[in-house]
Symmetry: C2
Subunit: 191 residues, 2 copies
DNA sequence: ACTTTTACATGACAGCCATCATTTTAAAAC
DNA sequence: GTTTTAAAATGATGGCTGTCATGTAAAAGT
């Protein structure tokens, strides 16, 4: 049956939200078009009225998830605390799309890869801004801290031993903080 | 046709080698049983004489790839140089199975996940040994450095911009070295 | 030499998936 | 209120994949 214009626009948004959550949770390949539509209470038929293909959905869902996360106005340390928490590790569907989907995106279209690249660049810039420094050492710190965060979440998720998994998150968090403190101490007037 | 006993044993080894390379290159889901066998010049039919299922192959290929890498007798800094090199980034098929497959293993059998967990634990222990320290700070350093290495490789592979990709590897490598030097300096007698 | 065993080839089957053609039905337009 | 439009439902199709049944030929055993 046909639905109202607003209903259709809302449906489109809900497809993006549900798809981006399912993709993060199970990966692009493991989620079918029918599964996404069913999660909304719809059937697979209407899908191609909204998106031209599954690849198209992947690109838009990625952009949607990346954009959603950009609203983060947390202080850097709180952001890192949350990122490296067991809660984020266990919340793949609602978590960072880069740590969740970067590896999966390798086998996707150039458009999808491009969206992830923009996300990586944006994240580094955001962290750099939060570090309130733009010399090379701040950029190094932003990049390496971010790499450690992504790696720790990937490893913590892959590890089935909960003790080891928690330890990876905790020690990585502490290590990053060691580096932050060291840098702050190096700024004249803060030591 | 039937082949000799040694030939069969060799075929089994070659299946493991080819499969572990293909899996690392394209992911578990994207590689079919037929594709693996074809890469050896065989057909899909004989596969189930060697392995009970594709899931079985995945576990054994993972263990094979992880074991292969354990022969590393490089000094720690050289190992890190290689790990964070463009060459390793571009060599998924022959590279570290953890950075290449950890995310993919989330959706695999408990046995496969267990193999990866053992690999993570072994890698941390190996690095700890190389750091020649076993106090908590050395363990923290091993875990966080390793997380940064994995994250940097994942991000560098996902990033399509070659300049940014190279930068992620290079800055992460430098950042880890900063930490190593700081720790060495903290050991009495080395400063 | 003959028989038995078995590694691999061939071919088939069921299940899943993306995509599309057609139909239905309710909202928009008049 | 009637007609037009289009969003979603239904159903079909083709391709791919894991798995298995059967066939075949060469090695192993006697």
């Amino acid at each position: 049956m046909k639905v109202s214009r607003e209903q259709m626009a809302e449906n489109r948004q809900r497809i993006l939200e549900v798809a981006s959550r399912l993709f993060r949770e199970k990966g692009f390949e493991a989620v079918g078009v029918a599964e996404v539509m069913k999660a909304l209470g719809l059937t697979h038929g209407g899908f191609y009225g909204h998106f031209s293909s599954k690849d198209d959905l992947i690109v838009q869902a990625l952009a949607h998830a990346l954009g959603e996360r950009n609203g983060a106005t947390l202080p850097l340390r709180e952001y890192m605390d949350e990122y490296l928490s067991p809660r984020h590790r266990d919340n793949r569907a609602g978590g960072c799309p880069i740590s969740g989907l970067a590896a999966d995106t390798l086998r996707q279209t150039p458009e999808a890869r491009s969206a992830v690249t923009d996300g990586v660049r944006g994240q580094i810039d955001w962290m750099l801004e939060k570090l309130s420094g733009s010399d090379e050492s701040a950029r190094r710190q932003a990049i390496a801290s971010w790499a450690a965060m992504v790696g720790a979440v990937v490893l913590a998720r892959a590890t089935t031993d909960p003790v080891l998994s928690d330890e990876i998150l905790k020690e990585t968090r502490a290590w990053i903080d060691d580096g932050l403190n060291r840098s702050i101490a190096a700024i004249p007037g803060t030591a």
